[in-house]
Structures are given as structure tokens and as C-alpha cells.
Amino acid sequence: MDPLNAFLIVSAGLFSVGVFGVLTRRNAVAILMSIELMLNAANLNLIAFARFGDPTVLAGQVFAIFVLTVAAAEAAVGLAIVLCVYRNIRHINVDDLHILKW
């Protein structure tokens, strides 16, 4: 099998696991973790394409580093929001957030 395809299949699998997690988990932190899986699936894609494409172009690898940085910032803000929600409502179950009609 073409090595690039192997990477793409793994990445697609990882992405699907992430989507499944977001749609089925009820805990906000678990949803955040599933989103991280999806971001890393995209990273894997970027790096695989960069590695098996033109080896002199590093855009894929560089982008992956940017994504890691942004994901860290996003997680910091996300966890802060989760903490604030917990302080106000005493749980972080997204199914039971219904002051605003969903």
C-alpha cells in the first residue's frame, strides 16, 4: 500500500473517533478532548502530505506547529469557561444546560 494512504486512513479514523466523541459525550471536558483528537487528525494529514509531497516545502510541518499552539490557547480558554460554568451551575453536563432553549 502507498505509505501516504496509510497515514490518511489513520488520520481519517482518528478524525471520526473525535467526531463520534463530540456527538456522544456529555461531559464538556470529554468533548474538548474529542475536539483535540480531531485537530491532531488534521495535523497528521498536514505532516503526511508535507512528508510525501515536495520535501523542500515545509508549509505542512510549520502549520502543524501553529495548530498545536492555537490548540493550547483554545484549551486554556475552554477550560476556563468550563470552570466558570462549574462555579455557577455546579456541573458540566452539556445536556443539562437549558436556560437558553437549545
Binding site: 474538548l32 508535507a50 501553529f66 490557547a73 475552554g78 468550563v82 466558570c84 460554568v85 451551575i89 458540566i92
Partner: protein, 505 residues
Amino acid sequence: MQITPRDIWNISPHLVVAALGLIILLIDAIWPRISKRQLANLALLGLIGAGALQARFWPRGQVTPVLGGMIVPDGYTAFFNLVLLVGAGISLLLSTDYLEWDGSAHGEYHALVLFTAFGGMVMAAAGHLIVVFLGLEILSISLYILAGYQRERRESQEAALKYFLLGAFASAFFLYGMALVYGYAGSLDLHAIARAAGAGQGAAANQLLLTGIGLLLVGFGFKVAVVPFHIWTPDVYEGAPTSATAFMSVVAKAAGFAAFVRVFALAFPGADLRHQVGAVVASIAMLTMVVGNTAAVLQTNIKRLLAYSSIAHAGYILVGVVAVLRNPAAPAEGVSAVLFYTLAYTFMNLGAFAVVLALRRRGEELLNIEEYAGLGFRYPWLGALMALFMLSLAGMPPTAGFFAKLYLIRAALSPLVGMWWLVITLALTSVVSFYYYIRVVTVMYMRPAVEGEQAPQASAGPHLGTGLALAALGTILLGLIPAGILQAAQQIAEGLVELGGMALR
């Protein structure tokens, strides 16, 4: 890559806004007693400075990308930068009174507004997908915080969590789409992608590219709130602090469409490909107009009504995007219609929120539309202004909203686009929109006012008053003398299209 003074000069409006945000955070940390009104004034001064810098440095003639092709300082960037600066400035004017009344006036608010505007400006200027992503995340992360800004209010917290989880989910799709487009084109530069997609004969049938474009559509669609990626909008708009809602409704939309139109107008040039993508965007546009307008009819809360109305307006703007994609002879017409609409929407929507921000009743915000009864006579100025903004949002001549819609329809009616049903949907759903916009006005004028202790009150300080006046001025002037702005928009759109054509050669 060398960074030259020319590069720095070209991104100076961006730098001013970002630096000012940091300075405000610092001042607030070093000197916590400082009046927040002063901080707001400082932020406003900086926004005016950035706007003056951008206007002084309006690009003429041929534009070359700077910073290694990452940033394109063309007229398109300049236009959206000014729209974003105006949006952020008026929003700041509207927020000071509200935040003081609410007791949540902190320095972060102003810094976050500036960071959001900076993210939007980066998105508008992006010539490279990495920059689009970075701009989008700077914008989004700041907005998540603004949505949850009232830490003690449960609604605000709930809105922030919902916005954050769905926003991050959509970002992941967006990123995956970028990775697939990168896999197809071997580059993230918009012009390089255009060369790859334009040279490959099978671009319109390439699964990798099509999936990538589809996922990019999901990402942009979420940010500008189109059906079926709109579920978050009413909840977040209702839960977030009203001043933050006003801000995010215009700035996120302008920035989202700025990047959306640039990426889709430049990066995917093949006629077949554009035809296909255009058809998908057209169906999303139709769905968005129908769902947004019908759901708005059912709302009783003014913030939710404006949320659904903003979804409907995103649908109208998408009609312009369809005209860009499906009219290979004159894509500039669609681009200029989108530019004009974004500016008009900024003024009229901020105006509507300004009226909502001015009204209170015994320490509570006045959000139920029924409670607006009789306010048109009690506060003639506010009533008249609300009527103006509502009519403009509905698209009544001679206001900004009318001409904005007219130009969209003109761009979409070209026989090359071949989407007459889309234009008919736009017209019919606009008629539906009259129902709910006019309802607000009729409640204000046709119902008896509540007297006594329960009577609603209006208060507009100098800041809010100025914001309200600016929004009204913009709405009226764009309606009375639209020609100047439209001409500028057309020139900018032609420049953008030329730039795309040049890259292909």
C-alpha cells in the same frame, strides 16, 4: 525571508490595533483604579488612528503581497479593515454605559474587543491559509471570552460554553479541510492553490479537493452563521452580554465573509469547479434565508429575533457569493455587492442593538418585544431610530438595506449565474422579514404604554448617543448617496479579481 520596512508599513493598521489591546491590558493591570471610560476612550482613539492610517494608505495601482505572500495589502483588505474598525468603534461606544450599569466594566473588555478586531483584520488580509486560520482563531477565542464575560450570570456562562464547544468543533472541520486542500495543491498559498486547481483538468472531479472545499465551507459557514451551521447563534446571542452580542453580530460576520469571499474567489479558479461549488453555496443560501426568516417570525425576545435576522442576512450575502462563483465573466459584481452589504449591515444592525441597549426597566434589560409597547411616543427619538433601523434591515427604500439588497439581486440576476429561483427566494423571504421587523415598530407605536413603576426607561449617555447617531448616519447616508461607496467597492472588487487572474498567468 527578510522583513522590510515596507512589510511593516503595510500591516501598520493591524499592528496598531493589536498593540493598543496589549497596552490597555497593561494600563489596566498597572493602574486598576483607572476609569474604564478613559480606557474606552483610549481604545476609540486608537481605532480612529488605525482607521486614519488605513485610509491614508489606501492601495492604488498594482498590489504585491508582503511578508512572503502571507498578507495581501490590497483595496479589499483596506475596505474590510475599515468596516471592522468602524464596527469595533461603534460597539465600544455602545458598551461603556451598558457595562457601567451592569457593574462589569473591566479593562479586559476593551482589550478583547480590540483583539477580536485584530483577528478579523488578519482574516481579511490573508493571502495564505495559515494566516486565515490564525486570524479566525484570534477572532474566535476572543469572542468566546466576550460571550462569557458576565461571570455571575448563568445565561452568559452557558452561552460561552456552547459557543466555545461548537466553535472549536467547527474549527477542527475547517482545519481538516485546509489539510486536504494542501494535500491536493502542495501549498497553502492561495495563488499556488489557484495554479494547482486551475492547471489540473480534473479539479472538478477530484475527491480530495472537493472534500477539502466542502469542509472549508463548514468552517466559514459556522463563523458567519448559515443554516445548517447556525444552531449556536440564537442561544449565544441571547446569553452573551448585549453589548458583546452587538459586537459579535457585525464583526464576526464581516471578518468571516471577508476571508470566505477571498478564498473562494481566488483559490479555486476552474469554471467547472466554481459551477459545482456555486450550486452547493446556492442551496445553503436558500436554506438559510428560508429558515432564518421563518424562525425569526416566532421570536418574542428581541435578541433572539436579531439573531435569526442575522442568520437571514448571512443568507442574503451568500447570494452574492453565489454570483461571484457562478459568473465567470464578471465575478467583481458579486464581490462589490458583498462589500456594500457588509458595510450597510454593520451600521443598521449596530443601530438596532444600540436602541436595545438604551432601554431598561427597574434594573433589568428590556428584551421582550411586547414590553416595547408605547415607547415610540414616550421616547420619540429612540422610536424613530428603531423604526429606521428595522426598515433598513427589512430593505425599505431609501435606506442602506434597500440598496444593499438591490445590488445583491442585480449581481445574482446575471443570466450567466442562472439562478433565478435564488433571487425569487431572496425577494419572498424579504417580504416575510417585513412582518417581524414591522412588528417591533407597531408594538412601539400602536400599543398603549405601561405607566407607573413598571414603566420602561431609556437612558443614553454621551457614548451611547454618539454610537447611535453614527449608526443612524451611516444607515441614512448609504441609502441616500450609495454611489460613492459602490464605485469604490467596484474598483476594489475588480482589483481583487485582477490579482487572481495575474496569479494564474
